[in-house]
Symmetry: D2
Subunit: 147 residues, 4 copies
């Protein structure tokens, strides 16, 4: 595991405007794996109280980008080419966890699966699964790794 | 066009926590078509300044739900079954418009295409396209139409 | 495990024109899981010799339908609502195996992941992954279970 | 329009084992657009008589590859990165037409929408729509353009 790179990724995560906005925490990071947790806020819920699809889509998108970045040694960043999400169950509970795992770490393209769970009284429930394709780009201007 | 239903949809849109949060405006509504506009805020952008993928995904999800609802006469609401987005071009500019059009208005399932444009100096640019599948559910408890 | 239902599914598989055409074999079946194997034929390959994307898409589609059917007790059949495939690696080798697993077995909709592997000299390689949404329909006229 | 390139694409189409197998015809080709027609055969249909999802997936995959190739001037070929199909209506009738249009013609990645129609007594019906991502690769060994 490349600790220097993972440290840079976590710093990038903490600087991220959208992740600050969501009050998100990066809980686990290892090569090709990234986990994000958020706690419920008003703008994240549907009238009936469960987390909305947009919040789930945001976690899928961001967790996939960091998972892809954690799998490479290069000074590069990733941009989302496309994403596809299946919503499986109502996202009851007060916390969401996105668990993103790289399936394919290619030279130019990476494919990541991000599963989203909600923490419910009876335990964790899988609320969405996804497939995300990302493209690796050279980091010419020392930009933030991830955006 | 069913004006009473469209009025209810717009009222639902104005009550929506997430749309208030985004400062979003519903610009055009007709049977099977719904358009949403947002202006740039900090949490919507990548470090390099363009709109991020999560904001685009949010507009796709919400605009598709309202477009599907605008195509039916029934007292029902829609839940997103799955969505797929292709990011095509960097979303430069200060405004995003999502234009959602129903392709298939089935008894139980609807399919919507939402195209997202950014307003740039040289005009509008298509920044993302999508396909969204939604399921129609009976509105038993007079819930808000859309969430 | 419902042996009577699984027997009917296998009989349906053996009657299937497209599966006969592909010389496909149903290798394993259990509740919510279905596996199909095919051996290379001319129409399945790209000029460079690997299996083409269409053959992989066919295996994804068919294996998902049978996996969904194997997870229910009802006299019903499934129609594909939508499918999404990521092609991950060149499908070298002479055999393909599709392994379809139900992720969500809902009242009306099921979601299946079908992973496709090719048998190569050095062992199995994952060549594609997918997410497939299917709708359950009542079998009113005693039709073949799967088509 | 680059007639020499389009001629090479049509020759490649006629050599294609899978397209011969389907008895497919390339009906129209222009920059970024490709159309394929097939007539019904036994292996293309479900027990109830309509075209099956695998045949539709095959037409989507192949038509997208040729549409992407018709939009570039380079001596390159395209490989499918991922595809997503929504099945909208039963594919009744005896003929299918896939109409593939490039939406984004990027340096490395192209995005194509292929709509599939069936010819029915009352006219054409849209039976499926799709989004396909393809990657452009250099044709080093003078391989067939498309596979």
């Amino acid at each position: 595991m490349d600790n220097a790179r993972n440290k840079r990724l976590l710093e990038s995560f903490e600087r991220s405007e959208i992740m600050k906005h969501f009050g998100a925490e990066a809980s686990i990071i290892s090569d090709g794996y990234f986990e994000i947790t958020v706690s419920k806020q008003n703008f994240m819920v549907r009238p009936a109280g469960m987390f909305n699809g947009s919040t789930i889509a945001t976690l899928v998108d961001i967790s996939s980008g960091y998972a892809a970045a954690s799998a490479t040694r290069q000074n590069s960043y990733f941009t989302t080419v496309e994403l596809k999400i299946n919503y499986l169950n109502p996202a009851l509970g007060d916390k969401l966890i996105a668990r993103a795992q790289v399936i394919k770490n290619g030279k130019r393209l990476s494919v990541v699966r991000s599963d989203v769970f909600s923490i419910q009284v009876k335990g964790e429930a899988l609320v969405a699964t996804s497939l995300v394709t990302l493209m690796q780009l050279q980091n010419r201007n020392n930009e933030t790794q991830i955006d």
